[in-house]
């Protein structure tokens, strides 16, 4: 990613070129995702290049207060999601959080989220790390989305337990992933980039049976 720009103008051009050349971790599955999606039943797509920032800060500290001021709050415990506007903060551990924001929030596209978080932490103990390339995002939606996930996730995904607006770091198809229920029938799944193809194909396979008429 390092650029040796001859002049500011050529740097900008190079940056734009680099962004256009980016390949998301599940790009090679895009056509299969489209073909395997079943409108009104269960659909899958990749939401590439979301901005993700790893936060480490001790709850209750002054730095945590300042970081919460930037993100619009920090989640208090397992499952909780905080944030405001299009910035969400997922609870990963007692002192570890994942900020998820739109692509445009990234520094490389002129966004000021990450610098603002860095400034908020200052020199206090903790971390603000750009993790945007660490994971990709799958969006799984539809009335059968829960049934698909239940084939490979041992959490209780029944709506009386797993509410929209909560997220858990867990295992799906035996690989570590973060599962975020964004709506009654919609989920965001964050696999690490190197697991994206495996999980994408696993989900496609799990979705396949719903293409056939239900056997009574």
């Amino acid at each position: 990613m390092a650029e040796t720009a001859a002049s500011p103008t050529s740097a900008k051009t190079n940056a734009e070129k680099n962004l256009a050349a980016r390949v998301s971790p599940a790009r090679q599955l895009a056509e299969e995702f489209a073909a395997g999606s079943l409108a009104g039943t269960v659909e899958i797509s990749e939401v590439p290049f979301l901005t993700m920032v790893g936060l480490r800060t001790l709850a209750g500290s002054a730095a945590a207060e300042r970081l919460a001021g930037v993100t619009g709050g920090l989640p208090a415990g397992s499952g909780a999601v905080a944030g405001s506007g299009d910035v969400s903060v997922l609870w990963l551990g007692p002192a570890e959080f994942l900020v998820v924001a739109p692509t445009e929030a990234h520094e490389s596209l002129g966004g000021d989220l990450i610098p603002a978080l860095r400034d908020a932490l200052g020199s206090d103990a903790g971390q603000v790390v750009d993790l945007s390339a660490n994971r990709t995002t799958f969006e799984l939606t539809g009335p059968r989305a829960r049934a698909v996930l239940e084939k490979g996730c041992s959490l209780d995904l029944h709506p009386r337990v797993f509410k929209a607006g909560t997220a858990f770091s867990t295992e799906i198809a035996n690989i570590p992933a973060i599962l975020w229920k964004t709506g009654d029938e919609s989920f965001r799944i964050f696999p690490r980039a190197s697991f994206a193809e495996f999980l994408g194909r696993w989900l496609l396979d799990a979705m396949r049976e719903y293409a056939s008429p239900e056997v009574p």
Binding site: G77, S78, L92, G93, P94, E96, S154, L155, F168, S169, T170, E171, N174, P176
Partner: protein, 134 residues
């Protein structure tokens, strides 16, 4: 498959955790003064009880935090979950007394030799070889 109650996340499948071996094995106070035999005992010798065992676990694919567990190695019953750095509860799972001299010694059902671990004085005499303070 064990269902392990993570103190931060609640019950999760065993596959989300990693095992950290026997709990309450303190680093020797003066490792350079140990003989090779004593050092090897610290490094490699662990209890292997038939019954209640105090062990460390980490919730690797969840909150990534370590905790201690009392587990029955025969029945796989999880008797207690307690934070790192706190004393071993009695085998019924009741929390250990915070202080005192004899209150922790009544742990007669275990075959282990874990001495009570008092916070702040983390060297237990049972696992630190005699030569540690020679």
């Amino acid at each position: 498959m064990l269902l392990i109650p993570c103190p931060n996340c609640g019950p999760r499948d065993e596959t989300e955790f990693h095992y950290g071996g026997q709990a309450h094995v303190p680093y020797p106070e003066n490792p350079s003064e140990l003989t090779d035999t004593e050092w090897s005992r610290y490094l490699f010798y662990r209890e292997n009880p038939k019954g209640i065992f105090a062990e460390r676990w980490v919730h690797s694919t969840g909150c990534r935090q370590w905790f201690n567990m009392l587990r029955d190695t025969v029945s796989y019953d999880i008797k207690a979950i307690y934070p790192m750095g706190t004393p071993r509860p009695d085998s019924a799972g009741a929390p250990a007394a915070e202080s005192g001299t004899a209150s922790l010694a009544a742990d007669s059902t275990t075959t282990g030799t874990d001495a009570p671990n008092i916070p702040g004085t983390s060297i237990s005499h049972a696992t630190a070889p005699e030569g540690a303070t020679k």
